[in-house]
Symmetry: C2
DNA sequence: CTGAAAGCGCTTACAG
DNA sequence: CTGAAAGCGCTTACAG
């Protein structure tokens, strides 16, 4: 790259000092109107833009935001990333993306990198391994280097940091309540992400709903597995032995699997069984049948997390950790047609 | 951030010059074994890592690779990004991600940013608007600044730059040929990405297959639209008036829509109609029915594109533009069960 | 109102 | 073998 013109060269062409050029371009009130005009014209003519590396070195900042997502197996994290990128760019920051692949070791390695002064702050949704092993030291170390960290999505974690996510408990509670109000009571739960804290919260929402809405909860109707194959077997088994009127499924994969298992048994959705699941907005309406889903507004999650991080970077609020909840919305499609 | 120790501080602690510390740490043969040892020990003790911004300023490089993807509406580009990120990190580069949202204006703005010295090179899949308006000046300008540019995925473009993608024509040809070998001849085509050059290539593959395999092509069996709704109407219309044994669908959305329209008419897949489509590996097997797909190996696309870009950055081959084709693979699932 | 100087944290040709 | 000096491109306190 380069061949780009520098302050020094502009100064020479204008026969003024580098300081004067710099101040003119940065709108310092010290410089005379006339000089400012001359400088700006020449700068525009030569398409001058400051060298960001130099500016950052001087400022002791990087102009970068690091984002670590655990996976890209569905569009959820991509959408969060989209929200972050768009707003960050508008604010003059670049987004550096990392994928931890649900691995603690990789996540640590990435965080180590970031601590080398690659970014001014970090937005992270921790890997499942991080969460199961409760190994958070690497993240705390980052804050010791004064690199602020904001957690998003996977926020059911015992960490004293800013957090942005959805109310996992409430969203499932609402789903059960909705079905209950339609006079269904045999409501199953399918979970393929048992490792994640947010699964616990969602399951709790399910249990709470049963308790508070005076439904009797049958443990046999809860399917919680980490593996697709086992999930499928258990679902088959469940449908052999129990009558089910509806399923609430807690994640993307289990939602698709649930729909598929039901149809393979020649049961009809929604006539025989209803489904409410966590699927993404782009795919839910195109499935066959389309599936009623809980919209987590991933873009908003990203935007909100970024906003909090920016505030931290600018030290605008050195107060206690923030905890922001994005409201979910239930979007009704075929699978809950009554 | 900061509070990180610098060369200067290390030098002071060791009572040697900054140069000596720098050289010791960088493995210069000039320094005595003993000094190197002392320096390295203290550096390790203090967890020293060089300030990348300073190193980059000195080197006149940024250590960053910029990637522009046009959308994130399915996981294809996320997977490409995954391939890029993983390899880039191993090579000591950071990946800065941008999403153009299929907008030429946004793409230009992002490229303008990158030209300010944000990254050492660019990997881009151009926006659909860029492609329809054939507005490529901004990309050429980048190469004038000596920032190399490598195109990926959307490479059916009249530009003299490195390109990495799949053989769009051949992949569809193979799909038609496969169906033909199974004695099907009433093969429809569904395309929802008419704006993209690669759609033209894929359609050409379809036409070529018909010609070379002695099939008579009925124009009525080609559905090409830019809008989901229109696509759906035309599909319905087609199924009302024509007998179809199989569909080849050229993109993610049209594949899902095709499957859905067929099932809504109570036709069975694969018994009544077969489908081969462009869907991603993570979703294809979970659909109901699961759909035979053309795997484009997005991770390889990303890795290959990055490799070419790295070669350019290191000026290892100032030769003519490279043109690398990643082989596709047809993965058979329910929708082509015979 | 303008400019010389110091400095951000590093690397490297050059001198000793 | 070691170090002083220049310089990457910028900003900013300070002097004039």
């Amino acid at each position: 790259m380069r061949s780009k013109i520098t302050l020094k060269e502009l100064a020479k062409l204008l026969n003024v000092s580098i300081s004067t050029v710099s101040k003119s371009l940065n709108g310092s009130p010290e410089i005379s109107e006339n000089t400012v005009k001359r400088v700006k014209e020449l700068a525009a003519l030569h398409n001058y833009t400051p060298n960001l590396t130099a500016v950052n070195l001087k400022r002791k900042s990087t102009g970068n935001i690091a984002v670590i997502v655990p996976n890209i197996s569905n569009t959820f994290f991509a959408k969060v990333l989209g929200g972050i990128e768009n707003d960050a760019r508008k604010k003059g920051y670049q987004v550096i993306t990392y994928i931890s692949n649900e691995s603690l070791a990789l996540e640590k390695q990435i965080v180590e990198l970031i601590s080398n002064g690659i970014a001014d702050g970090l937005l992270i949704s921790v890997s499942s391994e991080t969460q199961t092993t409760k190994n958070y030291d690497h993240l705390y170390r980052l804050t010791e280097y004064e690199i602020p960290v904001v957690l998003f999505d996977r926020i059911n974690i015992d960490m004293d940091l800013d957090k942005v996510g959805v109310d996992d408990m409430q969203s499932i509670y609402n789903a059960v309540q909705y079905l209950r109000n339609k006079n269904l009571s045999k409501i199953g739960l399918v979970c393929g992400i048992a490792d994640l804290g947010l699964a616990h919260a969602r399951i709790e929402g399910y249990r709470n709903a049963f308790k508070e809405l005076n439904l009797s909860l049958k443990e046999e109707l809860l399917i919680i597995a980490k593996d697709n194959k086992i999930l499928k077997e258990q679902l088959d088994n469940l449908l052999n032995n129990q009558e089910v009127e509806a399923f609430v499924s807690l994640d993307y994969l289990s939602t698709l699997i649930t729909s598929r298992v039901i149809q393979e048994r020649k049961l009809r959705i929604p006539e025989d069984i209803k489904i409410i699941g966590y699927v993404n907005e782009d795919i839910a309406p195109l499935l066959c049948p389309s599936i009623t889903y809980i919209d987590q507004h991933p873009k908003s999650i990203g935007e909100t997390a970024l906003q909090i991080l920016m505030d931290r970077i600018k030290k605008q609020n050195p107060k206690n950790p923030e905890y922001k909840i994005i409201n979910t919305a239930m979007v009704h499609l075929d699978s809950t047609n009554f």
